[in-house]
Amino acid sequence: MKRWFGFVRKEFYHILRDRRTMFILIGMPLVQILLFGFAVTNEIREARIGILDLSRDEHTQEIRNKLMASGYFRQVADWQRPEQVEAGFKSGDVKVVLIFEEDFGQNLKREGLAHVQIITDATDPNTGQTLLSYVSTIIIDYQRELNQPYQLPLRIEVETQMRYNPELKGVFLFVPGLITIILMLVSALMTSVSIAREKEMGTMEVLLASPMRPIQIILGKVAPYVLLGLLIALGVLLIGYFVFDVPVKGNLLLLAAEGLLFVITVLSLGVLISIVSPNQQVALMVSMMVLMMPTILLSGFMFPIENMPPFLQYISLIIPARWFIVIIKNIMLKGSGIEQIWQETLILFGFTVFYIVLAIRRFKVRLA
């Protein structure tokens, strides 16, 4: 044991003395969370709207006021003629257009039916969809207000609710996803380079000629990053909580325990990559290609897994991050307990055992 602690202390020296490593460890998570939190977001704010109001009566004015008051839209055009609409879209000046028919108010009063048209720019389908529902919600709201004085005999009212994230805040999704990605980066990337570095610097030769056992070397490599990974995850969590008001509804201890499990999973994967790579460059490339890209793209962090073609859905099954994102989202946003996430936990555990066994088996006790 004393032997092992000596080795772990050495690993800490390596990490703390290498400025580049420290920069990656601290700088990258910070930059990423700020980037994702502030800049890369799905939320609609001040979407540019163009309005063609062919009626210009009290009702259209009322709807227009409501739209502007919502804060989601910024009116950039108030057209007079229908031809202008097309031009506005083509130039990309507007993302959504609202058209009131002629005599909108009069039709409403006389016939009880008036028409309004919503057109959205669907080059970005998600935004288009979101804008559409925002505008229609506001119009339906107005309709309900108008109906209130009158008693209609039968009415079915659909009430929708966006659970756990009623304001559809992107940060809510990004913080759990980001913690996952960052843990992945720190743990897997850093460890994958570290054993390869020993090979490259020739120090592995001396270690091999010593009585150190493979398991001691591997665990010694992993231990410091477990600690660092958890610290960084905590940091991201705190920034999420205090800067972006992301809630943590579930048990913090459970969250920490699951985090620890995930860190160990990706660390063992990193070690495995490290062991099969001859030098740091290969290790880095492999981690980038087999770890980072699939994790970011296929774990459900960026794109919903249900929308992927079946082939990619199957691939996503073997990505540890996919399972951890489910776990962490459940704990943070829904406040789930272990009884809801035990399956995912078990899967992560299975991955870990698999990687460690493989790593120890593939560890060469000799050169070449």
Binding site: R3, F7, R9, E205, A209, R366, L367
Partner: protein
């Protein structure tokens, strides 16, 4: 106990098509300082790595203190101190941290074995808070030796410890090795420098993957076949060419500022050769009978090998 500390039997090793070792047989006795001498690429590193349990031989077997390097590799690793040819300590750790790390890896401490490494350690102690990467070449090697010795190994395996080190540090290093030998440690050391052979009890001359000869340096030198002469002139290059044209010339090769020469007739009248050279237009010619050194023997043995390379 006259049993062999290091024993290699019929070791062969090749990397794809390149032969690194061919049928190596070697025996190092307890307490011996044994030199493995040969040029770069001769196979020294491969041999030491096989003995250090780091490489597997294609053929043959080897044992250290009776323990097989393949079967009992863990036990062997406990007993050896190994120093690779390349500087292989942690560059970002200080001198002291490196030593303490290797001490803990071998379940011992700097204090426990301080007496063994004291003589070396005092030389690097002034720099003990300096990072290993900032040390000079000689200091690096002394540090590496400290780390290899810290667990009091029975056998030291050193791969070219004096390569790339200045002459003063080289001499100091060999003095340290002699001290370690007095402490009862068996030492196998490789070097490309022929002049270091005299520091060893016995040497193996190794060339093109084969061992040419194993004996004490004195015996090897005494076994040099014919009288040897040093020819000294002003234009060494032209002198070399003319000597090779001399009808009776045997081996002719440059050696520092002079040319080492043997004659087919054995012993010759040095004045005759000098006179002949003078007629070829050389001035200030000196021809002196000299005692052969290891390098002469190596050249003679190497050139009798069918696949000898043109080693100069």
């Amino acid at each position: 106990m006259a049993e062999a500390m290091i024993l290699a039997e019929n070791l062969s090793k090749s990397y794809r098509k390149v032969k690194a070792l061919t049928d190596i047989n070697l025996e190092v006795k307890e307490g011996e300082l044994f030199g493995l001498i040969g040029p770069d690429g001769a196979g020294k590193t491969s041999l030491i790595r096989i003995l250090a349990t780091l490489l597997l031989a294609d053929k043959g077997r080897a044992s250290l203190m009776g323990l097989d390097v393949v079967k009992d590799f863990r036990k062997v690793r406990q007993m050896i101190g190994y120093m690779p040819g390349r500087f292989s300590l942690y560059r970002d750790l200080t001198v002291e941290e490196n030593i303490r790390l290797f001490a803990t890896i071998f379940d011992t401490s700097l204090e426990d074995n301080y007496d063994l490494i004291r003589d070396i350690y005092v030389q690097i102690e002034p720099f003990r808070h300096r990072r290993a990467e900032a040390l000079s070449g000689g200091m690096k090697q002394k540090l590496a030796l400290c780390c290899a010795l810290i667990h009091r190994p029975n056998i030291l395996l050193l791969d070219e410890p004096t390569t790339g080190v200045d002459a003063v540090s080289r001499r100091e290093f060999w003095e340290i090795l002699a001290q370690m030998q007095k402490q009862g440690i068996t030492i196998l050391v490789s070097t490309p420098y022929m002049d270091e052979a005299g520091r060893c009890n016995r040497v193996a001359l190794i060339h093109n993957s084969k061992i040419l000869q194993i004996d004490s340096p004195a015996n090897i030198e005494a076994g040099f076949g014919s009288p040897l002469y040093a020819v000294i002139g002003q234009d060494t290059y032209r002198l070399l060419q003319h000597l090779r044209q001399y009808p009776h010339s045997g081996t002719v090769y440059p050696f520092g500022d002079s040319i080492h020469y043997t004659d087919q007739r054995g012993e010759i009248n040095t004045a005759d050769l000098a006179e002949w050279l003078r007629r070829q237009g050389h001035a200030n010619i000196e021809v002196l009978p000299i005692a052969p050194n290891i390098e002469d023997c190596f050249m003679a043995l190497g050139s009798s090998q069918p696949d000898a390379s043109s080693y100069v």
